[in-house]
Structure formats: structure tokens, C-alpha cells
Symmetry: C2
Subunit: 207 residues, 2 copies
DNA sequence: CGTCGCATTGATATCGCTCAAATCCGGTGG
DNA sequence: CCACCGGATTTGAGCGATATCAATGCGACG
């Protein structure tokens, strides 16, 4: 089997792996079913969603190339969410048993796996904190300050602004208006999908 | 040393642990310094804060009892944020070296550590999902459905309703009103701090 | 008692949601 | 090459849910 590799995919796991090609909106697994594989996004994007009563969907996570899927479900008996490709995607998968054997046998693999879990936990908690903010502008600022790079907190939006709005718990209209207002007020600068804070004039600076 | 235990704290780690009492606003560690301990909140609350250039602070997370602090710092050479007690708190800590030795030597501890990370990841994502709901009533229903016990999703509130409101991303006034309305409408029943759903005429309930 | 914090309810303001419409842009087919 | 289409982006108007401000009752605690 020809297995082209993403750099983030563990070498040790490659012998056990198989590939899946998913069309957009194609489902990978479903909430309530028992997990039998560990999945890895090689190309595209796979969305973890849960559905409310009226069919409203909540995006728990949008996994991009280089990420594992539903790490949290590995040791539970059922998936707690649906996984759907949000665009044509390529996914690698390995049997759960193979993965667990590797965790037990390969010390360094286990370490990097724990690091990965911890990193995802951090970002999830940052998101909780972000969604606790009441105003749209504060959420945008929080996003830039916590995920932006460099002294200006520059951030390249990888998805559409519409998708970003949903991740921020806003409607896309609100996000558009908020970004426009922040830009007009000189708080941020925008070049296409690249955002950054503009203000570095420290009001408390003496002399 | 008398080491009273939070149920979430791993048994195997207890011999290496020491306690810290923190006053409100007392700092536990600082961004940029190398991590030397793993921390666990036993009582109170510890806030992870990152500072912008004008001293504006962004709360990345407010760690409550039963949570580890900055688990991801195990692999990085420096903390990426400050940790400050937001109220008088009790924190357990173990030397990073002890912790890592235990992870490497004790297979079952490593497994339970990964399970703990995964469980915390799940609850964090459940909170993200909850905060993505737009109405106060939906958030309360989500809380009961995802954390309640039994067929009626009974839930005992351990903190004050005021604190609960903050975890739900609401003001306490809104929560009071919402609970009162849901009770009047017969959606929930309330006995003090015990809540439960009264009717389950929900056709597509998940569980 | 007096004080402090939680719980509760009322009145009003405000921000984001909803519905609606115009524009832009990339892709697609004639 | 151009007309058309669908989705993203943007702006407008109005409404409603939640925040905000305010007042009161209540229980704990010194």
C-alpha cells in the first residue's frame, strides 16, 4: 500500500495504517458508536460536531492536517460526537488495538501522545475562556492575544470568516461588523485574512 | 505530612507531593520561567493569565479544584503564562522530575494520566459546546443533560448559583430568572441546590 | 444587632440575533 | 468570452434576550 506521509504522523504507527478518502460532508463516525480506530487528518478538514434538539449543530473541533481525531474518545466506550469531513479530505486510520499496543511499548511515542493531549486541552480551555467573554470585540481581542504570533499578535485566518464566527460563538454578521468597527477605531489592521493589533501606544508610559 | 486528597488526584503521585497555601492574588509561577513542578488545585481557584503590551490581561483559564495546572508545561522549557490565585487556595505540587520518572516507570500511572487528560479534554469540549448555545435556557438544559445523573438528569449544585452562572457564561440575575421561568413552565424542579428535569417529552433525546 | 454576601425581583439599556438585500468572487458551462 | 450560479462578504433595520443598575429579603457570622 502506498502510504504518503504527513510529517506529524508517528513512524511507528505506519505499518498498521490505512487510508480513507472522504468527500465533503461525508461522515467518518457517529456519536454513540464504539471507537475502533484512531484517525489522523492528512489532508482537508474533519469537523467534530454534536447536534442539539432542533438540529442545530455545535462544532466541537475542526481538525486540520496533522491532527488526530477524537483523542478523548480513545478510552471511552463510545464516541461523544459525530465526525464529518467539512471538505474533501484524506484520513489515515489505525486499529485501536494497534495504537494501544504502541502506547504501551514505545516510550517516546507515549510521551509525544501525552504532549498532544495536553496541547489540545490548553486550546480547549482557552476557547472556554474566550466564549465566557460577553462582547464580540473582547472575543476577537482574546483570540488575537492568545493565538496571535509576534508582538503584534498577528493571526492568519485559515478558514472563512463565517467559520471563524461560529468558533467565536457569534453570527457572521456580528463578526463582520465587529471587525469593521475595530478597524475603524484603529484597534486592529486587516489585510485579507490576516489580522493584527495595531495599538502599541502605551497610555501609562511616563515621560 | 497530612495530605488530604481530592478524589481526582492520582494515588501514585501522593508520596512526592507538597502543599501550598496561597492567598488571593498570590502568584504561583510566572511566564518565561522554567517549569519545575506540576501543580494541582485542591481548593480555591488559580487563574492562568497572559499579559498584552499595555498590561491588559487575558484570562486563559480559571482552574478550579480537581484540575491540574499547565499540564502542557511538562514538555516546554518555560511557562507561557502567569498563574495567580484568584481567591485563597490550596495547591498540591510535585517536582517535575518525580512526575516524569513516575510516568516513565509506572505503566499504569501513565495510562491513568492519559485517561485523565482525555477526560478533562472531554469536559472542556462539553463546556465549549454549552457556551456555544445562545439562550440561557438551552445552557441550563445542556448542563443537566450532560452532567446530570439518572433518567431525570438530577444535578446537585456544589457551588453557589452565582458561580454557576459564571461557568455558564451568564450573569447571576439571568440565571435566577431562567431557573424561575423553567420551574414555572414545569421544565425543571428545584429543591434548594438540586435540579432535575421534570419532563422528558423530548422526541430525539440523545443520552 | 450590624455587616456581608447570596438570592431574588424590577426597570431599563444595549448588544447581538434575525431577516433582508446588495456586492463580490471563483467556478462552470454554453 | 460571457452569462450564470452559489457561497462568502458586507451593510441595513428592527427586535428581543441578556446585561446592567437598583432595591429588598435572607441567613451566617462576629
Amino acid at each position: 500500500m502506498s502510504l504518503s506521509r504527513h510529517p506529524g504522523f508517528p513512524l511507528a504507527l505506519q505499518p498498521c495504517v490505512s487510508r480513507l478518502d472522504l468527500g465533503a460532508t461525508q461522515q467518518l463516525f457517529r456519536a454513540g458508536t464504539p471507537p475502533r480506530y484512531i484517525h489522523f487528518v492528512e489532508e482537508g478538514a474533519v469537523r467534530l460536531v454534536r447536534h442539539g434538539r432542533q438540529g442545530e449543530e455545535v462544532v466541537l473541533h475542526d481538525a486540520r492536517p496533522g491532527e488526530f481525531l477524537a483523542e478523548a474518545s480513545l478510552d471511552s466506550s463510545r464516541y461523544h460526537c459525530d465526525a464529518v469531513a467539512s471538505q474533501p479530505s484524506v484520513v489515515l486510520r489505525a486499529a485501536k488495538a494497534d495504537f494501544q499496543r504502541l502506547l504501551a511499548d514505545d516510550q517516546s511515542f507515549a510521551r509525544s501522545w501525552m504532549a498532544l493531549l495536553a496541547a489540545q486541552l490548553r486550546t480547549a480551555r482557552a476557547r472556554v475562556e474566550r466564549l465566557s467573554l460577553r462582547s464580540a470585540e473582547e472575543r476577537v481581542r482574546h483570540l488575537l492575544l492568545s493565538e496571535g504570533r509576534g508582538s503584534r499578535c498577528e493571526l492568519e485566518i485559515t478558514s472563512s470568516l463565517k467559520d471563524l464566527a461560529r468558533r467565536l460563538g457569534l453570527t457572521h454578521e456580528s463578526l463582520y461588523r465587529t471587525l469593521a468597527r475595530m478597524q475603524k477605531d484603529g484597534v486592529i489592521a486587516r489585510e485579507g485574512l490576516r489580522l493584527r493589533l495595531t495599538k502599541d501606544d502605551d497610555p501609562d508610559r511616563m515621560t
